[in-house]
Symmetry: C2
C-alpha cells in the first residue's frame, strides 16, 4: 500500500513534552517539582505550533475562517507582570490550618501559583486569563504530599469553612476548576501533583493502585517499567491526571478495547470531611446504588480523590493503527456502525468528516505531505474510481494483541470497510496519529495569538441519532456564525464506538471581534443545544463543570438533577466542596 | 467426542414453566393475568423436582447432608387456609387514593395477594411463609396498568404517607421486598406485572424500550419475534422482571459477552414523588455522578422503575456451549483466569469445583447418565491418565456469533484449556445446561419439604483473591456446621469472568433442627463474612436488601454508607420508598 506517513500529521511541536513529565516517575516529588502548564495556554513553555513547513496550512486557514496567516502579526506571549491579581482573602487562619497539616512550604499564596490554579484550558479560560480577567482566584494553593495529609487537610479546611477545589493537571475545558466569583469564603486549590506514585500492581488480577495526582506519562512510565499499560490515552494525556480522569469521567483513544475510565477505575479512595471514603476494587458487584459511579464524574463535589485502583493490561505483543479512506461521511459512519455490530473488536475506531479530513491533509509537512502523495497518484486513482475528493473521509482503525489475533481482526475489519466502499492506505498515517495525538491543543494558542477562537464540543449518541446530531450541529454552528457576521469553521470525527452508538467530536473556529467570550458562547451554546435536541449527551468525556450544566436536565431530567442536588446537599451540607459545579 | 448429554442435567421439572409466561406477550395484560409464583415456594404450581429416575441422587444426598431420601416422608404442600394473615392496616383512605388512580379492580387487600407480595424466595422467606410467620404484610397490593398510573400512584401514596414497595417477579433472595415489621404506616406493594410490553426497538442502535414489569420470557419472546435478544439470562429469568434486574444489579449467564444489567440498561424511567425521572439512553456519557448508576441497584429506594431502554443484539447465527473437564479446581480457576487475560471472548465461562461436579453427576438421569458414561469408559480413561476422579471439575464455555467466529474462538479457548490440563467433552452437557438452567431453584423446595435447608451466596473478587475467598468460605461454612452440630454441604462454581476477576457462586445445604432460620443465619453470616475478609463483594448479582446490608461498610466503607444514607434522606425525606433496605 502507498506510504502516507506524513499525510495526517497533527501539529508539530518544537520539542517532546512527555520527557519532562516522565522524569518525575521515581524521584520523591517536591512541591517545586510539581509540573504546571503555561499560565496563559496549553502545554509546556517554549513549545508551540508552527506552520512554516506545512504549505497547505495557510491556504486552508484562509479558506476556512478567512484569516491570512502571512498578513497577521501574532501577539507576543502575555506578560505576567501586567496581570492584576486580586489579593488573597485569607486573614491567615486558613493558611495556618493548612500549614499545620502539610507544613509551611506546601502552602502558598503566590500570585502566579494562584493564577495557574484559577482556570482550566477552555477557550473561555484562555481568553480570560490572557486578558487578566480574574474576578476570583483561589486564595491559597496547597500541595499535600500524602493521602493522610489530604484527609487531614480536607477536615481542617472544612472546619475553617473554606472552599476546596481539587486540582490535577489543570487541563479541564468544562469550567470545573474556577472559583465562584461570588464566593466570599477562603478558596483553596488542593493540588494533587505530589501524589504521583504507582503504589502496587496485583499482577494476577491486572489491577494497579495509583495515586490520583499522577500525570498520564508519569503513571504509564511506571506501569511500562513492569510490562503493564493502563490503556487510557485521552487527548489531554500528557497534562492530565488519574484523579482528574475519574473526576470528569474521561475516555481515552483506545476505549473500544480498554473501556472508558468509568470501566477502568475499579476502586477509589476519597478524602471527605467525615473521613476517608474507600470503594473496594471488585470486578463487578451488586452493592446498591454504585458509590463507585458517584465518585466518577463528581468533579470535587464529593471530596478529593487520593488514589484509584485501575485495570491494567500487559503491554500487547503487537499494536498497530491502519488508515482508510471512505468516499464520503455516510459511508464512514455506516462502516463504523457495522463494525460495532460485528464480532470484531478493534481497539480504535475513528473516522473524520470531509472537513476534518481536509484539515488533516492541510497539516501535512511539505517533505512527505500531500504533494508527494498526489505525485504517487492515489488521489488521481480515487478520482478515476469516481470519488469526489471533496467528500473524502479519513479513518483510523487500531488493533492490539497477539500478532495472529491482530491479523485476523484486521482482515475481518477490512472486509467490512470494503463493503462500505472504503480503501486501506496503510500504517504510515497511523504511526503519526499515534506519535502526535497529544499535541493538537497547541494549535488553539497559535490561533488565539492571531485573533481566532477555536474549541471543541463532543457528544455521545445512539447510532440512529448520529447523522441527525451531526447535521443539526453543523447547521446550528453555521447559523451561529451567520448571526455573528463571522466566517466560521466546524469539523467532526466519530470515535469511541459502543454497542449502541458512538462519540461525535466537533472542532470549531472563527475570527472573533471585541468580545470573544460572548461570541464563543453563541457558537458553543448552539452546538450543545443541537446535541440535546437530537438525543446526544452534553458531553462524552469532558465532564459537566459550569460549561455544560445547563443541559443536565436534558440528560437526566429535572427530577434527576434534583436527585443530584439532594445528594450534594446531604453529603456536603456546608457547600465546601467545589460548589456550583455540575448542578448549582 | 463422547456424548455426555445427560451428565449434568439440572433437576427435571414436570412441565415447562416458560410457556405460561410467554402467553402474556401480546394480550393486553389484565390484573387477573399477572402471573405469580407459588405463595409458599419457587415457580409454577404443580411443578417440582423429583429424583426417582436419578439413581445417584439419593446416595449423594445421604453422603452430603446425612439425609436418607427413601426414609423421610416429605411434608405436604402448605395449606393457605391454615395461615393466619394479620388484617390490613388501611382505614380505607389509602385504598381510595390508589383506586382513584388505577381503578377499584386494580387495588386489593386479598389475603393471598398480600402474602404473595410479602417476601421474596430466599430460604429465610420460604421458611417463614411456610410457617405462617407474617409479622408484617403489605396492607394493599396495587396493579397499575400504565406508566402514568404508576407516577400518579406514587404521588398519591406519598401524599398519604404510605410506604411503597415495588414488586416485579418476587424472585428476590436478599430480603429486598419485605415490609419492616415496625412499620406503622400503610404499606403498599406496587406490582408492575401489567407493564410487560416491548414498546419499541431502535434497530440501528440495538436499543429497545421495554416496560419494567416484563418477565424474562415475556420480553425475550417479544424481542425474538423481531430477531433480537437481550442476552440477559439470570437463573431467575423465568420469574424475574426487567425492573427487578435493574433494581438489584442482576447479571445473566452470558454476561461475558452481553455484560451485566448495569451495562445492558442504558436509559430508565422512574416514578418518584416529585415526578418522573428520565435518564436518557446514551451509549456513554460524562454527565457527573451517574444518575443511571444510582437507579441501578436502588431496590425501590429512589422510586418505582417503569421502563428501561436496554441494549439488544441480533439473535446470533450460532450459539453453542461446550463442556470440559479439569483435573482439579486449581487448574480450572487458572484456565478461566488465562482466558480472561487472552484475546479470546467466549460468552460463558464457568467451572464447578469438585463438589459441585459431584452434584451434577448425581443429578443425571438413569437412562443416559453416569452409569452409561462409565460404560463408555471416559472415567476409566481419565483414571488411567492419572486423574483423581474425586477432584474432577466440570466446566462450561459458551460461544456465539458467526460460525467462523465461533469456530476460531473455540479453537483458541481449547488451546488454553489444554495448557491447563483440561479436556473437552463435547456439547451434550452444554445443551442440557442451556435447557434446564432456570429450574434449579425448585430443588430448594424439595429439600425444604424434607427438613433440609439450602440456599446460595455469591461474590465477586479479583483473580488474586478467588482462591483465598474460596478456601476461607469453605472453612467458614464447615466451622458453622460444626458449631451447629450439623452435617452440612457447600459447593461452588466460578462464573461471570471479567478482566480483573470473577464471581464465585456457593450453594450450601444442611438438615436443620427446631429453628431453621437461626441455623441458616449462622451459616449464611459465616459465608458472607468470609467473602468480606478476603476481598470479595457482598454479592455479585443478588443485591443488598436486608440480607447483605451488614457488609456494606466492607464494600464502600462507613463513609460510603454515609453518602448513600444522605442520598436516600435527601431524595426521600419522608422515608416512603422501600425504607430500611440497603442501608438503614
Amino acid at each position: 500500500m502507498t506510504d502516507l506517513s506524513d499525510l495526517v500529521e497533527t501539529p508539530e511541536t518544537e520539542r517532546e513534552p512527555r520527557a519532562d513529565a516522565v522524569s518525575h516517575a521515581r524521584a520523591a516529588t517536591a512541591v517545586a517539582d510539581v509540573p504546571h502548564m503555561k499560565w496563559w495556554g496549553w502545554g509546556v513553555p517554549g513549545v508551540g505550533f508552527h506552520f512554516e513547513d506545512k504549505p497547505a496550512f495557510a491556504p486552508f486557514v484562509a479558506k476556512a475562517v478567512g484569516l491570512d496567516l502571512h498578513a497577521v502579526a501574532p501577539l507576543d506571549p502575555p506578560r505576567f507582570d501586567g496581570v492584576d491579581v486580586p489579593p488573597g482573602r485569607d486573614d491567615g487562619r486558613v493558611r495556618s490550618a493548612a500549614a499545620a497539616v502539610v507544613g509551611d512550604a506546601a502552602v502558598t499564596d503566590d500570585a502566579m501559583d494562584r493564577v495557574v490554579h484559577t482556570y482550566g484550558k477552555s477557550l473561555r479560560d484562555l481568553v480570560r486569563v490572557r486578558a487578566g480577567v480574574l474576578p476570583r482566584t483561589p486564595d491559597l494553593v496547597v500541595y499535600p504530599g500524602t493521602e493522610d495529609e489530604v484527609q487531614a487537610l480536607v477536615t481542617a479546611l472544612v472546619a475553617e469553612d473554606a472552599v476546596i477545589i481539587p486540582f490535577g493537571g489543570g487541563s479541564n475545558i468544562a469550567g470545573s476548576l474556577e472559583p465562584d466569583p461570588a464566593e466570599s469564603r477562603v478558596v483553596v486549590s488542593v493540588d494533587l501533583g505530589r501524589l504521583d506514585r504507582l503504589i502496587d500492581i496485583d499482577e494476577a488480577s491486572g489491577l494497579a493502585r495509583i495515586q490520583a495526582g499522577a500525570l498520564g506519562p508519569v503513571l504509564e512510565a511506571q506501569l511500562n517499567e513492569r510490562g503493564w499499560t493502563i490503556g487510557h490515552f485521552p487527548d489531554s494525556f500528557t497534562h492530565s491526571t488519574l484523579g482528574g480522569w475519574v473526576a470528569t469521567r474521561s475516555s481515552g483513544m483506545q476505549s473500544d478495547k480498554y473501556g472508558d475510565i468509568a470501566d477502568i477505575a475499579r476502586g477509589m479512595r476519597v478524602a471527605r470531611p467525615g473521613g476517608l471514603l474507600d470503594v473496594r476494587p471488585y470486578p463487578s458487584a451488586s452493592t446498591g446504588p454504585s458509590v463507585r459511579e458517584l465518585i466518577l464524574g463528581s468533579e470535587g463535589r464529593l471530596g478529593v480523590i487520593t488514589e484509584v485502583t485501575v485495570q491494567v493490561h500487559r503491554v500487547p505483543a503487537k499494536r498497530v493503527i491502519h488508515a482508510y479512506f471512505f468516499p464520503n461521511w455516510s459511508a464512514g459512519l455506516a462502516a463504523m456502525q457495522a463494525l460495532a455490530a460485528s464480532d470484531v473488536h478493534p481497539t480504535v475506531t475513528r473516522v473524520s468528516d470531509a472537513r476534518e479530513t481536509g484539515f488533516s491533509l492541510a497539516t501535512a509537512k511539505e517533505s512527505k505531505g500531500l504533494s508527494a502523495l498526489a505525485q504517487r497518484g492515489l488521489m488521481a486513482f480515487l478520482k478515476r474510481r469516481g470519488w469526489d475528493l471533496d467528500e473524502l473521509c479519513l479513518s483510523f482503525i487500531g488493533y492490539e494483541g497477539e500478532p495472529d489475533h491482530v491479523g485476523r481482526q484486521r482482515k475481518a475489519v477490512e472486509r467490512i470497510v470494503k463493503q462500505h466502499g472504503g480503501i486501506g492506505v496503510g500504517t504510515g498515517p497511523g504511526v503519526l496519529y499515534d506519535q502526535k495525538k497529544f499535541d493538537t491543543p497547541y494549535l488553539r494558542d497559535f490561533l488565539l495569538d492571531r485573533g481566532t477562537a477555536g474549541d471543541v464540543s463532543e457528544t455521545a449518541a445512539p447510532w440512529s441519532r448520529l447523522r441527525p446530531v451531526y447535521d443539526r450541529t453543523i447547521a446550528a454552528a453555521e447559523a451561529a456564525y451567520a448571526s455573528l457576521g463571522r466566517q466560521g469553521w466546524i469539523m467532526c470525527h466519530l470515535s469511541h464506538s459502543y454497542h449502541a452508538g458512538a462519540c461525535l467530536y466537533f472542532t470549531f473556529a472563527f475570527v472573533f471581534g471585541d468580545d470573544p467570550v460572548a461570541e464563543y458562547d453563541v457558537v458553543k451554546t448552539a452546538v450543545q443545544q443541537a446535541f440535546a435536541d437530537e438525543g446526544g449527551s452534553l458531553s462524552h468525556h469532558h465532564g459537566v463543570g459550569l460549561e455544560h450544566a445547563a443541559w443536565m436536565p436534558d440528560a437526566v431530567s429535572a427530577e434527576g438533577v434534583g436527585v443530584l442536588r439532594g445528594l450534594f446537599a446531604a453529603t456536603d451540607p456546608g457547600g465546601n466542596l467545589n460548589p456550583t459545579k455540575i448542578v448549582r
